[in-house]
């Protein structure tokens, strides 16, 4: 299958007054359409840098990113970005917040408005559309952020630790919701996380990165029985614990090396 996202020999250096430092060291990666890929790794392995590069927010110093075969040279509506927190605008209602992406890409029509409302209803936010973000709980707000990202109908979703600010129960519920929503719509996802069990439970493929500079250490294909179950039940599947330990030791080894 033709990869939907292709990173070709990406290298990136940050330049400051003290000098230039390499954050990502010639990294290549293919992601197939509909695939759910997680990146885990110690801090300083360039995870967020990598996401910013795929999103077109950052131009890599070397190499290029292809999206559906075309070179990425800036943010495109085909890529949606979800941040660590919801970052909903406090002066906009829930409905207005979920429309912002459509506004910015001038796609506000009756049809897109309708589908955004439908999406809000689907996420159980139908009663909240006229409320302001501070009226909502953290989990509801992150669901609004998901609607905001999905409203522009991107092909690829970049998830930058989207559950890190939530309590454990909400996090599990949201994992299920996101996996189901993305699978139903055949979206491709690239998730950055610190939580190994989250990465294994949600993904088709887990990539362990090494730090200073960022590079791929090892890729784990997730067995079919774990992929097929919802994240909540995936944790009880046979082989989950063994895989967890395997990824864990790989991650530990990469941290020890530093």
């Amino acid at each position: 299958m033709l990869p939907i996202v292709e990173l070709k020999n990406i290298a990136h250096a940050y330049v400051t007054d003290r000098g230039a430092s390499l954050a990502i060291d010639y990294l290549s990666l293919f992601i197939e359409p509909g695939e759910f890929v997680s990146l885990v790794g110690p801090s300083g392995c360039g995870k967020t840098t990598l996401l910013s590069i795929v999103a077109g927010l950052l131009t890599p110093s070397q190499g290029e990113v292809l999206l559906l075969g075309e070179k990425v040279s800036g943010p495109t509506p085909q890529v949606g970005y979800m941040l660590q927190q919801d970052y909903l605008f406090p002066w906009r209602t829930i409905y207005e917040n979920s429309l912002i992406g459509l506004e910015l890409t001038s796609q506000v029509t009756d049809r897109t408005k309708e589908s955004t409302l439908h999406l809000l209803n689907e996420m159980g936010l139908g009663a909240a559309i006229d409320l302001y973000p501070h009226h909502l709980s953290g989990g509801m707000r992150q669901r609004v952020a998901l609607v905001r990202t999905l409203a522009t109908d991107p092909e690829v979703l970049l998830l930058d630790e989207p559950f890190s600010a939530l309590d454990y129960q909400t996090k599990l519920q949201l994992e299920d919701l996101i996996v189901k929503t993305l699978k139903d719509r055949h979206k491709t996802a690239l998730l950055v996380t610190h939580d190994l069990s989250e990465a294994i439970a949600m993904s088709d493929r887990v990539i362990v990165l090494g730090a200073s500079p960022g590079h791929i250490r090892k890729t784990f294909e997730i067995p079919q029985n774990i992929r097929d179950s919802q994240p909540f039940y995936a944790r009880e599947q046979e082989g989950f614990n063994e895989l967890f330990r395997e990824v864990w030791s790989e991650l530990e080894a990469s941290e020890r090396k530093e």
């Binding site: 999103a55 943010p75 509506p77 002066w91 910015l104």
Partner: protein, 279 residues
């Protein structure tokens, strides 16, 4: 069935004592409020009475310090004769214009230096110098440039308000969480869009609250400006009263200024509340 009865019973019981507590709370709150207002009013009355007595019983020099009934009857007679109004109108006019223009230009300048980091770096030393110098000292220059009237006085006011507004608003622009900007950027928003959709609405409460600061500053600017040049206005009345040793006039002007400034401040507070409601 038994469960239902229990629930109903519990419901009536619990609401009655909870309501009671709430009523007690409201009563206590009203009582405190009444006490505060009484105390405030008593202080005012006591001070006025003391001042009046001190004046009438010649404890203080009446020529210098006057006394309340004299001051208020003077204000009343000036109001009736119509001599007060042109002075009041001029001063309030200058203050309002200085205040609005100061906030507007200050905010515009903040937008410009936010837009261009280069310009921000270039202007930095000028802003520091201008901000730390006592702007009132520029008064004579404005008089030479704009003549001794409305324009010179408004300019004096602007010199006081603009830079402070610029610094406060610019800082609030910079304090906006960069992740909000990232949200807009991830949808491909340009710098203009980022400003419109994030920076300006996020800083709006700060901009509105600089209005409050600027009201006070504008009064300083206008009164000092009038001290220096004016032939009309409340500041002029103070200086004139001082020169002809009519301290009743000086005190009457002060009372009117206090009154007008408070009124204007309350108006801005009201506007602020209306503007940032629902946040």
């Amino acid at each position: 069935m038994a469960v239902l009865e229990y629930a109903e019973q519990k419901d009536t019981q619990s609401t009655s004592w909870i309501d009671g507590q709430y009523n007690d709370y409201l009563k206590q709150k009203r009582k405190t409020q009444a006490l505060v207002v009484t105390a405030q009013f008593s202080i005012l009355v006591a001070l006025l009475v003391l001042w009046e007595l001190a004046g009438r019983l010649k404890w203080i020099d009446v020529l210098l310090f006057s006394y309340p009934s004299k001051v208020f009857s003077y204000i009343w007679s000036e109001m009736v004769s119509g001599q007060l109004w042109p002075h009041l109108a001029m001063t309030v006019g200058e203050t309002v214009v200085g205040f609005l223009l100061g906030t507007l230009f200050g905010t515009l300048l903040a937008v410009i230096i936010w837009w261009s980091p280069f310009l921000s770096k270039v202007l930095d030393p000028y802003m520091v110098v201008f901000n730390s110098m006592p702007k009132v000292a520029l008064g004579p220059i404005f008089i030479v440039m704009f003549g001794g009237g409305f324009t010179a006085i408004v300019m004096t006011t602007l010199s006081i308000t603009i830079i402070v507004t610029t610094l406060v608003v610019y800082n609030s622009f910079r304090d906006v969480d960069p992740n909000y900007v990232k949200v807009i950027r991830s949808f491909g928003g340009s710098k203009r869009v980022i400003f419109q959709k994030v920076i300006l609405p996020a800083s709006f409460p700060t901009i509105v609250s600089t209005l409050k600061v600027n009201v006070g500053m504008s009064w300083v600017g206008v009164i000092v400006g009038e001290f220096l040049v004016a032939k009309i206005g409340l500041g002029y009345l103070i200086i004139y009263g001082f020169q002809v040793f009519n301290f009743t006039l000086v005190l009457a002007s002060l009372v009117i200024i206090a009154f007008a400034a408070t009124l204007m401040y309350q108006l801005v507070v009201y506007v602020e509340r209306r503007l940032v409601r629902g946040r």
